[in-house]
């Protein structure tokens, strides 16, 4: 039984069709990479999956339709990391991550809550500035705080919108490796929208390719990533190398014509 299931998810914003008939499933222990050019609807899809937006079609979390779930229930099942913002400027790091415990919190903070926060902080390597105010952090540090908060939420499904865009090379790898490891160890389902194709290819079990709101391809990175696909989705000429079984995209130059060739 897949942990996350999207069926015919569509969304219109004002008069514009942003998502059209997106369907996929995700099992526990899997990391799904959402890739696609800017404006392809990745952020909207993530929001729909977390029920921050109300789409047509169905989103099933662990078999249950999100429409039949209350907000607190959804919050206990899905954790969401926004691309930017999502953080108040005057709380400490510890308190911000503590907010992730809200779906489980009674009025006072229990030992278990504090324990989870400490763990999340240490996993993300930000334990040293637990008492610093969030407006005194760099962009990368702030992003890791957001991820830590999502982890503290103890949800089985993680939705992350560009969780590594502000991080340096080392931190990128660390965070993605962490997510992959947590998915496997704790049987979580992770959906991450990622700009960096190679990062996605390395750490995601499967990819979902979006362009103009439609699914252009779904499958393992090695099966999906061909130069034809890259040309079709990104309109650039690229060469695909193989690095220890993981495909590696080397972009060359923009395409001359951008005829869309559907590849499946």
């Amino acid at each position: 039984m897949p942990l996350l299931c999207a069926r015919g998810v569509s969304f219109s914003y004002r008069d514009r069709r942003v998502l059209e008939d997106v369907s996929f499933t995700l099992d526990a222990g899997e990391v799904l990479g959402l890739v696609g050019p800017n404006g392809s609807g990745k952020t909207t899809l993530i929001r729909c999956l977390g029920r921050l937006l109300d789409p047509e079609g169905a989103v099933l979390l662990d078999g249950r339709d999100t429409r039949s779930m209350s907000r607190p229930e959804i919050a206990r099942t899905v954790a969401y990391v926004p691309q930017n913002g999502g953080i108040s400027s005057s709380a400490t790091v510890f308190e911000t991550v503590l907010m992730g415990r809200r779906p489980h919190l009674r009025w006072s903070v229990s030992e278990e809550d504090k324990q989870k926060v400490s763990e999340a902080l240490s996993l993300l390597g930000i334990g040293d500035f637990a008492s610093r105010r969030t407006d005194r952090l760099s962009g990368g540090e702030r992003q890791r705080v957001l991820v830590a908060r999502a982890l503290a939420q103890d949800a089985r499904i993680l939705l992350l919108d560009e969780p590594t865009s502000a991080l340096d090379m080392r931190n990128r790898i660390e965070v993605m490796a962490l997510l992959a490891r947590l998915a496997e160890e704790h049987r979580l389902a992770v959906v991450a929208a990622i700009h960096d194709l190679n990062l996605a290819a390395r750490y995601c079990h499967r990819l979902l390719i979006l362009k103009d709101g439609r699914v252009l391809g779904r499958g393992t990175p090695s099966s999906l990533l061909t130069s034809g696909m890259v040309r079709a989705v990104y309109s650039i000429e690229a060469v695909i190398k193989d690095e220890m079984g993981v495909p590696y995209v080397v972009p060359l130059r923009p395409s001359e014509n951008d005829n869309l060739v559907k590849i499946l």
Binding site: R47, P72, A75, G86, G100, P103, S118
Partner: protein, 354 residues
Amino acid sequence: MMTDFGREEYARLAEKRALFITGLIVILIALAGVAVTIGSAGLSVADSYIAILAGLFPGAVDLPDRMVESNAVGIVWGWRLHRVLFAVAAGFGLAIAGAVMQGVLRNPLASPFTLGIASAASCGASIAIVLGAGLLSGGLLVIGNAFLFAMLAAAAIYGMARLRGMGSETMILAGIALMYLFSAITSLLQYLGTADKVQAVVFWMFGSLDRSSWPKLGIVTVVLAAVVPVLLWRAWDLNALAEGDETAKSLGVPVERSMAGFMLAASLVTAVIICFTGTIGFIGLVAPHITRMVIGTDHRTLLPASGLVGAVLLLGADCLARTAIPGTIVPVGIMTAFLGIPFFIYLFMQRRDA
């Protein structure tokens, strides 16, 4: 490996907060103790306290002659005591209302004034004073109108926000528009009114504790007792809202309903206070700010601590108001405005635009 990151500091922070609140309670009690002895009747400190006891236990206390002559009991119980308690309750309520609004709107400069609620109350009062028109009659005319218009403003902000989206910017914009609207109406009424009525309006808008009484204190206390515990219970939602509407939603907070509920509670508390006192400003802005600087933004402690800071500020301002110019009581709203100045200068000096 047992991870312990930040737990010690968090525990220390919790201690600091508890200490701050305790300290404030002590200061407040001390200040109240001083406040009941202040006044132009020339009662000695001892007399003031004896009068309090005599009122609490009538017949049990043997009053010295001089106290019967000066009617110390009447002055303390009929004038000073409820005024001091009202200052505490009003300061408490206005500060908490301000803190809630700032949390909901994610803007540290939000207050009942920037949202037009206070202007609406002034407008309602002017209509009552100049035109004699209003909901209730007689002595309750001005009070009823002020309350009604304040709640109308809150409803209007909510309505406008629902039309255009419940974001914080929408609400603030709506609030500013309302502020201008109500100020314009008030000014027009002042132009058309007789000199006598205009003076009445102006004095109402100064904000004063002169009009306090035991029944009014009772009403305010009841409202506070009903609303504040609910606000405290829901403090985590306020904390979540501070992180952003989307984040709050993802954490399980029913964002639209919460915002509406919080705004309603804050407006209600504000309205019930300023309909009796007139527009007293700055407490709702300054108290939460000071509190936040000391103990951070966790609303579980921010709300009660702001309330206590507000109570201390308002009571202190009132004591100053009663003693600054001998023989006159300066309207307390003027005093709080003066107290706001050094605060804003301090804020201004702190700014370092990157």
